[in-house]
Amino acid sequence: MTATTLTAPAGASGRVRPLAGLRQTFTMAWRSLVAVKHNPLELVDYSITPIMFVFLFTYVLGGQMAGSPEAYLKYALPGIIVQNTLFMTIYTAMALNTDLTKGVFDRLRSLPIARSAPLIGRITADLAKHLWALLLMIGLGLLLGFRITGGFGGFLLGTLLVMVFAAAVSWTAVLIGMLAGDAEKVQAFGFTLIFPITFTSSAFVQVDTMPGWLQAWSDVNPVSHLSDAFRGLLLGGPVAEPVTWSLVWAAGIALVFYPLAMRAYRAKT
């Protein structure tokens, strides 16, 4: 028989020290990553699908689009990566939604941990998965004939830019994940939103064959800017304008969706 103590441990006044909060965030990130081991489906999401995209675009569309698969790959690979990155943010929304509806967030919130740790931990882990998929696609591209003519610096900067953009879009995903009734709705809504946005851009084609009204949209479409910027950085070329616009868009998306997402998160968890 142990006596029950009725005193709170020291330092449990409600505020979590920043260092402890950081450690909790990494623990939550670990949880998201280690889950992949037991859920082979995630491997499909983050590995097989990206590989499939590269193969399909290159060999099915390549000949018609650019005369040869290799020539098209050179144009399209950065766009395919951008598209895949955006698609993958839906998995962030789905995972958060599952945690919410399955009661995992209740359990976590009843613990004396930083309130943001489950959220930031998930985003951190998912950015690691984004990076994995990006590197996988670049690696496959290199095998199929893609060449990074923009140098290693261009590759690093391009990768960083895509990651920054993904991090910004993640807040949109958080909002969707918090508001949707279940994970299927998240998926349906996410794909319905992202499909047209990615395809009405310069990710896969040069926009000058599109009708004028579509070109007007495509010219402001953030996916166009990000694809052009990433392409420019990988291949070497003028990048100042698309990089600037990509960053402006990323900042704009984060500014709008971060507060909305955090408000929804605090209301729901």
Binding site: T2, A3, A8, A12, S13, Q24, T27, W30, G103, R107
Partner: protein, 337 residues
């Protein structure tokens, strides 16, 4: 008296519905308080307030003397929560689920691992420690969920319908575990829809319905208040139903009812059954079925509230306590011990 878990005038509204309409309750340190009530009574809402997941609209809730709103951090460091839905990560193994909680609570890697192993052993999950939780049965998940709530060695436990949806065998297993836990000195608030569960596990019971406390006392007090058993008499010929009702009512009192083709009455006096049999015999009524059974929660509710427990799905939050709160007639019938 000092209470480890205490509520005063707790009120929580979701839009128009009042999930809690001024609830007072207290659990003595080292005791188990059973919070009994039908779906939608407000049980989950109360637990969520105590576990700092919801803030009350009015009133106070204290855990170990700490206010759940003002000192939420202190409360969190002392409580363990097992929710209605087994909140385990399906894609993590049993060990990983417990490691996650241990690491979040600041245990070192080795310490967290040792604690996980210890709990898995205690909850008979060691054989499945390396398997993803999605391969677990319902009973195993609940045990893992309970284990997860114990990683931080909480002195106060909130168990929200811990056995709902389990088969009788798994339920029995969980009861044994819970009994062992409280024998170790933990204070627990247990919500349940099952009178026998509260009976087996709780020292004191608070019955709530539509957000109000309608009865409280020890299990024995409550049972004697409502009659521990129910007599059922079904006459062979339906036309005898009225006579049977009158006859049973004479012996058993005003709570005698006709349900379909059967007359039911709460039994307080062990002499009731033989008396009814003699009376039936005297009047020459042929009996198709005569049985004595334990009163169900339904009858407890009927006895306490004058209305039957409505089996409504209990939504997670809003909509809980779905009924109209103003029921003056029922209020009058309420007996508070």
């Amino acid at each position: 008296m000092t209470y480890a878990i205490e509520a005063e005038g707790l009120v929580k509204r979701f839009k128009e519905t009042e999930a809690l309409a001024g609830v007072d309750l207290g659990a003595r340190q080292g005791s188990v308080l059973g919070l009994l009530g039908p779906n939608g009574a407000g049980k989950t809402t109360a637990v969520r307030i105590f576990a700092t997941l919801l803030e009350p609209d009015a009133g106070h809730a204290r855990v170990a003397g700490y206010d759940v709103v003002r000192d939420a951090g202190a409360v969190r460091s002392m409580v363990g929560l097992t929710g209605q839905y087994a909140a385990v990560d399906e894609n993590l193994t049993g060990t990983e689920n417990l490691l996650l909680i241990g690491r979040l609570l600041g245990l070192g890697r080795r310490e967290a691992k040792a604690r996980a192993g210890e709990l898995l052993e205690r909850f008979q999950l060691a054989y499945a420690a390396g398997r993803a939780a999605k391969t677990y049965s319902g009973g195993m998940r609940r045990r893992l969920d309970l284990a997860a709530s114990l990683v931080g060695r909480p002195s106060i436990l909130f168990l929200d319908e811990p056995t709902t949806g389990l088969d009788p065998h798994s339920r029995g297993e969980l009861w044994d575990l819970l009994r062992a836990l409280v024998a170790d000195g933990a204070t627990a608030l247990l919500t349940t829809q099952y009178l026998n569960e509260a009976d087996v596990l709780a020292d004191d019971i608070v019955v709530i319905d539509r957000g109000r406390v309608i009865a409280e006392g020890t299990p024995d007090q409550l049972k004697s208040q409502v009659g521990g058993q129910v007599l059922e008499v079904r006459p062979l010929r339906a036309e005898d139903l009225g006579r049977v009702h009158a006859l049973v009512a004479r012996a058993a009192g005003s709570r005698t009812e006709i349900e379909g083709e059967t007359v039911t009455a709460p039994v307080k006096d062990p002499e009731l059954m033989p008396a009814v049999v003699r009376a039936l015999d005297r009047e020459g009524i042929a009996v198709g079925e005569l049985a004595l059974r334990r009163s169900s929660l339904d009858e407890v509710f009927l006895a306490l509230t004058g209305h039957r427990a409505e089996p409504a799905a209990e939504p997670e939050e809003p909509g809980e306590g779905s009924a109209a709160p103003d029921d003056a007639e029922r209020e009058k019938a309420v007996s508070r011990s």
